[in-house]
Every structure is written in structure tokens, then in C-alpha cells.
């Protein structure tokens, strides 16, 4: 077992990427992602990591470089946030459709306008349908462990897909947390060498990114959809192996004090930690409230979500993004759709909270539960909004 150290989560994540012995790092600086890439450039410069560090001129180029290097069979890393992800969105879709295993660490940040450097999940929701495996992390240890997990799953020949690991900007990226490090031997036993399915190689010629005529486009999309859904057993296997190695068990949907809960909270990312404190407080006050943490966003864990939610009377979904003009925020929409055909389903309340860096405290979460239980179903609220 490795050492447990107090370290900034961004630096820990970069150390993990270094331990994975990546070949290419291509990134463009954007707040709050910078520390990750800065530390990687340091690892490369001082000889601890034998990789190409490409300081590209924009995020669009960053993801393009990543596609090129992954297509050549190199283990590839990039990281970005908000506007950077928006700019690279074109290639984000292409990376997934071309089945190129790239790891992208997204330091979740609100999308402009108005210009905001603070945290919410609107950037991740923008590329929700891109076909990447998308994981939301709750704390620093989560982020650190998921770097290894992401490479193991993404590069697995049964999967061969890019993985997006989401960590809340500032709330996670810039805090110092206790993180238990992995040793080189642990990484060696957990993460096999990258053996790509298809590479650009003069001996075995392939064309990537070619035209998909109407006769083949739908079939290609279906194949991509199936590949993403079929990654589930590999994701679970990766988490099982990780648990054997570290003792930390991750699951697509995690439950916290849900036994006998009448009201459930559902959250993603660092909000889960805050919500667990609120649940503790409410349980102490004798209220039957539990928390469901949605870790895996894509492929969407339909069966697990249904199993976790069907027993409750009320469900309060804490959405950290807003879908302007829609009936509900993105996560609530997804959950509502998942639960619609269930014979027994909770009343679903949508609470948009913490967008654009607005703080969410455990008291806020208790308030949101109270407000939800007073209101009717299918109302979409922006919590704490003025005016």
C-alpha cells in the first residue's frame, strides 16, 4: 500500500497520470485545470516521466493532438474545463466515435456567458451525448483512483473508448486533501500495457475519420452506442480489482444511509460529500432521508438507478447545471425518464443548486429537502436565486 499524504488534488491527479506512464500530454491552460498540466510539464521536464508534453495553441488543437497520438497507439492525456471543452467539443465527439482511448480530466466549470471561472456541471452536460465514458468524482481520492481505472477500462480492447473523469473545479482541484498514493507495483499489476485495437501503422493500413454515408452512419452510431453500453462489465471489473488492491469499493450508483429512507437525495460530484453531511444531520433529527450518489453518468446505469430509487416516496435531485428552456435540469430529466415505466416510483423534485460557483452548504440541502416536500412534483427550482 502506498503512502497517505496531504496534497492538492490537482497535483495528486498529475502524479497519478505520471504513474500511468503516459506517452503524450497535450493541453492548453484554462482555469481551474492549470495545476494538473503544470505539474505534468514538471514531471516531463525533470525526467520523472518519459512523455511528449505538447503546449498546443488551443483546446481544439489539444484534443486533435490527442486523437493523433491515440491513433498512433500512445497512451494519451489531456485536461480542460468549460470554455476549453466547448472549443474542443468538435473533436470530443470524433475521439469517441473513432474509439480512441484518451483520458480527459475535466475540472468542471460553468460555461460563459456571463464569464465565470467557478464550478458547475454545465460543461460536462454539454458533451453528455458525445459517447465518452463519463465519471463524476466525489473527492480527491476518487479522482486519484479513477485515473488508473479510466486507463484500464478505456484501453481495454473490449471497450476502446475515451474516458472523461469529472472533478469539480476549485472545490476539488484546488483543495489539499489526504490522498493515499499507489505504488509503482500496484499500478503495474492493475494497469496492463496499452495494446490498441486499431492504430495508424504503415504495415497495416487503415483510414480513420472517413465519410460515413447515409447507408452506414446509423449502423456506426448503433455500434458506438452498444460499445459504450457494453463497457459496463469492464467498468465493474475495474472497480472490483481496484477494491481488491486498495480496499476502496466504487460503484456506478452508491448509497449512503438509504435503509428505510422515505426521501432520497441524488447528487453527482463533490456535492455528494456535502449532501452526506446533511443526511447525517437529518437522520439525527429522526428524519428518514438517504443519499444516492450517481458516480457513473455514461454509460447510464439504468438498472442500478431503478433499483436504488424505486423504494422511496420522494426523490430530490440536486442538479448542478441548468438546461435553459427545458422542463427539467439534465440529471433530473435522465432520472425521470429512467423511472417513468417503473410500477413504483418516487415523486421526483428538481433542485438546481450551486451553479456558477454558488456555495451549497449542508443547511442548504436540508432546506432543499424541506422545500421539495412542500411543493408538487415536476417543479424545477433554482435554489437560492434572487429576484
Amino acid at each position: 500500500m502506498g503512502k497517505k499524504v496531504g496534497i492538492e488534488v490537482s497535483i495528486a491527479a498529475a502524479e497519478a497520470v505520471g504513474l500511468c506512464d503516459v506517452d503524450v500530454v497535450a493541453a492548453y491552460p484554462i482555469t481551474p485545470q492549470t495545476h494538473i498540466v503544470e505539474h505534468l510539464s514538471e514531471l516531463v521536464a525533470n525526467g520523472r516521466l518519459d512523455a511528449e508534453f505538447v503546449p498546443v495553441e488551443s483546446e481544439h488543437s489539444a484534443m486533435s493532438v490527442c486523437c493523433g497520438s491515440a491513433a498512433a497507439g500512445a497512451r494519451t492525456f489531456t485536461s480542460t474545463a468549460a470554455q476549453g471543452l466547448a472549443l474542443m467539443a468538435e473533436i470530443v465527439y470524433i475521439a469517441a466515435s473513432m474509439r480512441l482511448p484518451i483520458l480527459m480530466l475535466v475540472a468542471n466549470r460553468a460555461l460563459s456567458a456571463p464569464l465565470s471561472i467557478w464550478n458547475d456541471h454545465s460543461d460536462a452536460m454539454m458533451v453528455r451525448d458525445s459517447g465518452w465514458i463519463q465519471i463524476f468524482c466525489e473527492n480527491g481520492q476518487d479522482v486519484y483512483d479513477h485515473i488508473f481505472h479510466a486507463y484500464r477500462v478505456g484501453e481495454d480492447p473490449r471497450v476502446s473508448l475515451p474516458v472523461m473523469v469529472n472533478m469539480d473545479g476549485f472545490i476539488l482541484t484546488h483543495v489539499i486533501e489526504p490522498v493515499e498514493f499507489w505504488t509503482k507495483e500496484m499500478v503495474g499489476s492493475y494497469l496492463p500495457r496499452f495494446r490498441p485495437l486499431n492504430t495508424l501503422h504503415p504495415d497495416k493500413v487503415v483510414t480513420m475519420g472517413a465519410f460515413g454515408m447515409p447507408e452506414i452512419y446509423a449502423e456506426q452510431k448503433m455500434a458506438h452506442d452498444q460499445a459504450l453500453k457494453n463497457s459496463m462489465p469492464v467498468l465493474l471489473e475495474g472497480w472490483d480489482e481496484l477494491a481488491k488492491l486498495t480496499g476502496r469499493k466504487y460503484e456506478p450508483v452508491e448509497l449512503y444511509r438509504t435503509e428505510g429512507a422515505e426521501t432520497l437525495l441524488l447528487a453527482m460530484g463533490s456535492l455528494c460529500e456535502t449532501a452526506s453531511l446533511a443526511v447525517d444531520q437529518m437522520r439525527e433529527a429522526g428524519r428518514k432521508v438517504g443519499l444516492v450518489k450517481l458516480r457513473l453518468w455514461r454509460p447510464f446505469p439504468l438498472a442500478e438507478v431503478r433499483k436504488a430509487l424505486s423504494g422511496a416516496k420522494d426523490l430530490v435531485v440536486l442538479d448542478r447545471s441548468i438546461s435553459v428552456g427545458a422542463a427539467n435540469a439534465p440529471v433530473t430529466s435522465e432520472i425521470s425518464a429512467a423511472m417513468y415505466h417503473e410500477p413504483q416510483r418516487p415523486r421526483i423534485h428538481c433542485m438546481i443548486a450551486g451553479i456558477g460557483g454558488r456555495d451549497v452548504t449542508p443547511e442548504d440541502i436540508t432546506n432543499m429537502v424541506d422545500l421539495s416536500l412542500k411543493g408538487t412534483e415536476q417543479e424545477c427550482h433554482i435554489y437560492g436565486v434572487r429576484g
Binding site: 503544470e38 521536464a45 488551443s58 470554455q83 472549443l87 422545500l371 437560492g384 436565486v385 434572487r386
Partner: protein, 307 residues
């Protein structure tokens, strides 16, 4: 359902505005600056304040009314300029100041449209737009504050970082050659190209006011100290030290060949007005080649119908 945020955090708007008004008017350029947005966020020793002052001074000298001036900027430390100037300003996304300004300058030809942005914004992520606006000779006044790194995000390597210079992503020296900005602007077709440092405040005012008079794409590079981002890893000292350095190493060479004015770390910086030529601007070409022909065609068609 509303949660009374204000009840929890009372905000006295009147008192706040009174406070701003009391402070306002204390600075000679206050009429050009947005009350309530100052003090700015720039670090001690940063050169950006000098460039903004030079821009305002040039506006004053050329009697450019605030109503006739529009400033467009991108992202980064220099991008903040748009937020501080009390005139029509637009803070665009990273790299897109020039396309936005192009649209503005073509529709509102009565405006003096200034693009105020940094080296990273104009030459990295927005490099494509700069060369095409220069090629088209759009009537834009570009002021590029070059601090040799991405200051806002913590001093990472940029396409302007001199070779061998240290930044937070090149901790042991940059391996990539940098852009020579005046040469690039000239090659792309700018009609006016100048470079000054923040030490050359008077010359800078003169250059910006000359640019106001020119029709077409003008480019003024301002070499500025960034003691926090670029100065620290390269041991360039404080902002004041960098100004002293500029005084020592700068050589004024008006009319110098732009291909010979490359900047290297701790070496001589050649400043001056390098290019000042005349060339039909975008609108002139457009009027003569597209509008005039279209009108002639419409006329001849009209004639045919009448006959």
C-alpha cells in the same frame, strides 16, 4: 418558490453607489473608466495600466469621443481592459476578439474599433483570425500587449515565449521558437506596424494616435512586464526592474525590417514604427468590386426589362 437571499445578505445599493460616486472623479481619466470597476485586478508592476493610459491619452489627443470608440478584447489579463473602459466594449471568448470586431467595424464604419488583447489571445488561440483580418485589411486598431506568457492562468508557455525562457509549463526552459509579432503582422498585410515597451509611454501614445488616423488594419505591439507570471521564473525582478531593463536594452529603430526585430530573452529589444504604408482597406475593395458591380448588374437588368 423563492428563497430570500437578500434577507440573509442585505445589500445596500444606494450606499454602494454613493461610495463609488464619492471616489469617482479623483483621477484625470475617470470619465473614460467605469466607476465601480476600479481598482483593477492587475498585479503590482504589471504594464497593462500604462497601456490603458496611453490608449486614453491617444483618444484625448485625437479628440476621439467616447461615443465613437468601441473596444473589443478577448480573454486574459489584457482582456479585462474591456471591463474597465467606460465606452462600448465587448469581452469576447478566448481568441475571438478580432472576428467580433470585424463584424462591428463593417457594420458601424463610423466607429473606431480597437482590439485590445494579449499575445496569447491574439497569436495562440486566435492566431488564425489575426492573419485573416490583416490580409483583408479590415479597419481595426489592434493593440497587443505582449507579456510573453499566459499571465491570467498562472504563467504558462505561449507562442510568444522566447526560446529558453522558463514558464510554469517549461520549468527548465522553452524549446519552441517564438513568434516575431511585427513580422507576422506585416507579412499578413497590416498597413501600420509598431512596437514599443511600457517604458516608451509617450511614443506609445503617438503610435496609437497615428493608428487612429490610419484606415485599415493597424498593429501596435506593447512589450509589457509581467513580474508575477513571466518575471519570476526568469528572475527579471520587479516591474520597476523590468522598466529599467527596457531603458537599457531598447533601441529605437523606426523603419526597421520587421524580420529583424525578433525578441530574445535578456537581449536587445528593437522598438519603433516599422511599417506605415497605404493599401485599400476591406470596405474599399468590397465597395468597388462587389457593391458597384452588383449595382451595375441590377441597373442593366432593369434596363432590359424596361425595353
Amino acid at each position: 418558490m423563492k428563497v430570500r437571499y437578500r434577507a440573509l445578505h442585505p445589500f445596500d445599493k444606494e450606499a454602494e453607489e454613493r461610495h463609488i460616486q464619492e471616489d469617482h472623479g479623483l483621477h484625470p481619466y475617470d470619465e473614460y473608466l467605469k466607476p465601480g470597476r476600479i481598482p483593477h485586478i492587475w498585479c503590482p508592476g504589471c504594464g497593462l495600466g500604462i497601456v490603458v493610459t496611453a490608449f486614453i491619452e491617444a483618444m484625448k489627443q485625437k479628440n476621439v469621443p467616447v461615443a465613437q470608440s468601441a473596444v473589443v478584447s478577448g480573454i486574459g489579463c489584457t482582456g479585462r481592459v474591456a471591463g474597465y473602459l467606460d465606452m462600448d466594449t465587448y469581452h469576447t471568448t478566448h481568441g475571438r476578439a478580432i472576428p467580433f470586431a470585424t463584424g462591428l467595424a463593417l457594420v458601424r464604419q463610423d466607429l473606431i474599433v480597437t482590439v485590445f488583447s494579449g499575445d496569447g489571445d491574439l497569436f495562440a488561440i486566435g492566431g488564425n483570425h489575426l492573419i485573416h483580418a490583416a490580409r483583408r485589411n479590415v479597419n481595426l486598431k489592434v493593440i497587443c500587449v505582449n507579456n510573453f506568457n499566459y499571465g491570467m492562468t498562472g504563467g504558462q508557455v505561449a507562442p510568444t515565449t522566447p526560446i529558453d525562457a522558463r514558464t510554469s509549463t517549461t520549468p527548465f526552459g522553452n524549446a519552441e521558437p517564438s513568434f516575431n509579432l511585427p513580422h507576422l503582422a506585416h507579412a499578413a498585410g497590416a498597413v501600420y506596424v509598431a512596437r514599443w515597451t511600457t517604458y516608451h509611454a509617450r511614443q506609445l501614445v503617438h503610435s496609437i494616435s497615428q493608428a487612429f488616423d490610419k484606415k485599415g488594419f493597424t498593429f501596435v505591439e506593447v512589450v509589457a512586464p509581467c513580474p508575477t507570471g513571466f518575471g519570476r521564473p526568469n528572475k527579471l525582478g520587479s516591474g520597476l526592474d523590468e522598466m529599467r531593463h527596457y531603458r537599457e536594452v531598447c533601441e529605437v529603430r523606426n523603419g526597421a525590417d520587421p524580420s529583424e526585430v525578433e525578441i530574445r530573452l535578456r537581449e536587445k529589444i528593437i522598438v519603433g514604427t516599422f511599417v506605415d504604408v497605404e493599401r485599400p482597406d476591406f470596405m474599399e475593395h468590397y465597395q468597388s468590386l462587389v457593391v458597384a458591380r452588383a449595382q451595375a448588374k441590377a441597373k442593366s437588368k432593369g434596363k432590359g426589362k424596361a425595353a
